[in-house]
Amino acid sequence: MTFPSSLDDRANTAGIVANRVLTTLLVAALIGAVVLPFAAMAPNRLVSGQAISVIEALLPWQWSGLGGLALALALCALRRPLPPRRAHLLVLVLAPLWLLLVAYGLGDYAHRALQDASPAARVSQSAAFWVLVFCPTLMIVDALQRLHAGLALRSAYALPVLVGLAALFAGGTFDALSIMREYANNRGTFAAEFRMHLLLVGSALGPALLIGLPLGLLAYRRPGVRGPLFATLNFFQTVPSIALFALLVAPLSALSDAFPLLDALGVSGIGATPAIIALIMYSLLPIVRNTYAGFAGVAPATIEAARGMGMTPRQLLWRVELPLALPVILSGLRIVTVQAIGLTAVAALIGAGGLGAFIFQGLGQYAIDLVLLGAVPTIALAVVADFVLQILVALSRPAGAR
């Protein structure tokens, strides 16, 4: 008589795991936490330190807390007892707690470890820390995806998590860490380089848009121009960035030598000028291509109707073609902005400044934490720019299609 229910049980045990992504991430995090070092303790900033495991670094309440969160997350990955929606929502609560606890644990360890060490001693984060940060981040992204969360919801969710991290920063939790010591040593230049980085990106994107948008429109209106134009821009894109920066140095030096006026304007072979020119050249292809694709994507019937209604070519462009092409054009701008933020870091090599300056200094001194002082803000900047532009793209979609 129990036949039907036993069949039922068997069917359920066959698929005990409901969320494979979450399971994989949990297993990866656990293996990482056990196998890899969590932090490194070094007598000074230049030598590589002694590896410290998670258990050694964290206090019992901290690592047991992490273990508890991991168990709860494992429950969320199972088919029972939680229904899928509730499980995803629970992940969105647990994973950030894990994230903040890992961050707090590292900062807290650094304070304790350095209490009776020499002033030159340094504590840095190691591989297990990154694993324990990336895994919950991916869990959050995955859960948001599974809940089909829109941009508004994502922004609303990201805010408290960011506020929590900011509170840890402001509370001085991380002050003892090596990367923050590097920041403290470079406090004056950091703000200046950060501004320079933004300035370089901005001065490249402005002209790139001014040139790229009309070129994209031209490619749309004149099929004959399209082939040669895209071939040229493609060619720019294939030149390695370091090579392009270097190749611009000689002709620009010659130019500024030949024309004192240019020299007076600050144009020279090294510094910001070649960096901006190279960034513009890299930015053109995505902008032109997306502008062209945006215009080409407007339905011919819509254009025929607009002309048939008696719109002038100018009205057609501003009222119909441009608004409908805008989401695709802004997607191009999004690609280009993220790309430019990354490439600007390389531009420090030819003396343009920016956050890349820390990276190359750090590389020169073999001070990894100085490299990170340049790299982490660059990544953060790119992520924020990407997110902001994603919102702009969504807002620019035709109201009805949002």
């Binding site: 019937a301 254009i303 109707a305 048939g308 209604m309 008696g310 719109m311 608004p323 299609a401």
Partner: protein
């Protein structure tokens, strides 16, 4: 009124439209028809100069508009196309108000016009005004497309196969609606189609084009009974010519007085038949008038499907008689009262 004079379009030395002259009077429903590539669409698009004309003149009202800037001309001519081309980033109201906007109408005036047009097409203004095109069905979108074309009360309405892409049922509904709207607005219409039944249903005048030339321009009946040449003859299609003719005739042309059934004399003989009505003159049943069985004594209950109205095409009335196997159909008015009948004999007795 719109008149085309010697309209010609030459592409690469070849005339795709050759010397087309025709005149659509005010309030007329003109249809351009012909096989693919006959130049009917090109002719239509030359009228609002979406295609520049090689030679010829266009007269709108009593004004030669051939030299008018195209944008100004187009704002005076409504334009509806098969693919509709609603602006996806604008609401229904914004779509309809495009030409009033280009003509710089006051907001209140164009708002009122939008509501008026939505009502004309039986679309609830409150519900549809703020919808976006992607929320509309195909039929609704095409109604909005035609409403948009009519927005600024144009002198002429051009329609390029507007119902070519909708399903047959919606197409029929839209055609009927177009007839009603035409009757209500008395717009001058130039309509392109390749479907002869659609042309016969809608047109007050039909222009048949072949290989860029105007072959015949006549009223539908004349086109059917006096085709200008073999091409027209073939294009119309001989097989169901009789039915096509009936599709251009109306029940009221065949209608005659209906014999009423009288209880006291309760006898009908031979082919005779009589209608039994209630106190309000609603037809209840038909006595006799059937071919099957003992026709004289047969009684047939009237139902909502086998009645005719005075405005119904005779083709449809005939179809109902055939389907219900009766020799007569009651003609009723809007209140359902019996006002006459049409009979099989009546259809046959009239010379087509």
């Amino acid at each position: 009124m719109i008149e085309l004079e010697g309209l010609t379009k030459t592409y690469a030395g070849k005339d795709v439209v050759q010397d087309v002259s025709l005149r659509v009077e005010s309030g007329e429903f003109g249809v351009l028809i012909g096989p693919s590539g006959c130049g009917k669409s090109t002719t239509l698009r030359m009228i609002n100069r979406l295609i520049p004309l090689t030679r010829g003149r266009i007269i709108l009202g009593d004004e030669d508009v051939t030299q008018l800037p195209p944008e100004q001309l187009r704002r005076r001519i409504g334009y509806a196309i098969q693919s509709i081309g609603l602006f996806p980033h604008w609401t229904v109201a914004e779509n309809i108000a495009v030409v009033p906007g280009l003509l710089k109408w006051a907001k209140s005036r164009s708002d009122a016009r939008v509501d008026e047009l939505l009502n004309l097409f039986h679309l609830d203004a409150g519900e549809f005004r703020d919808k976006y095109p992607h929320q509309l069905s195909g039929g609704q979108a095409q109604r909005v497309g035609v409403a948009r074309a009519l927005a600024a009360d144009p002198e002429v309405l051009l329609m390029d196969e507007p119902f070519g892409a909708v399903d047959p049922i919606t197409r029929e509904v839209l055609q009927n609606e177009m007839l009603r709207v035409h009757a209500q607005t008395r717009k001058t219409i130039v309509f392109v189609t390749h479907d002869m039944d659609e042309a016969l249903k809608l047109a007050s005048r039909i222009a048949i084009l072949n290989a860029g030339r105007l072959v015949q321009y006549d009223r539908p009946i004349e086109l059917l009974t006096q085709p200008a040449d073999d091409f027209v003859n073939d294009f119309i299609g001989k097989a169901d010519l009789g039915l096509k003719l009936l599709s251009r005739r109306w029940v009221h042309q065949y209608q005659r007085q209906a014999p009423l059934f009288d209880d006291t004399t309760a006898q009908s003989t031979g082919n005779q038949h009589a209608w039994e009505v209630d106190a309000q003159r609603h037809p209840i049943r038909l006595h006799g008038g059937r071919l099957d069985g003992d026709g004289t004594r047969q009684r047939t209950e009237v139902n909502a499907e086998w009645v005719a109205t005075a405005e119904m095409p005779m083709k449809e009335a005939l179809s109902r008689m055939v389907w219900f196997r009766v020799m007569a159909l009651p003609v009723i008015d809007a209140e359902g009262r019996l006002i006459g009948e049409v009979t099989m004999h009546g259809v046959m007795g009239r010379q087509p």
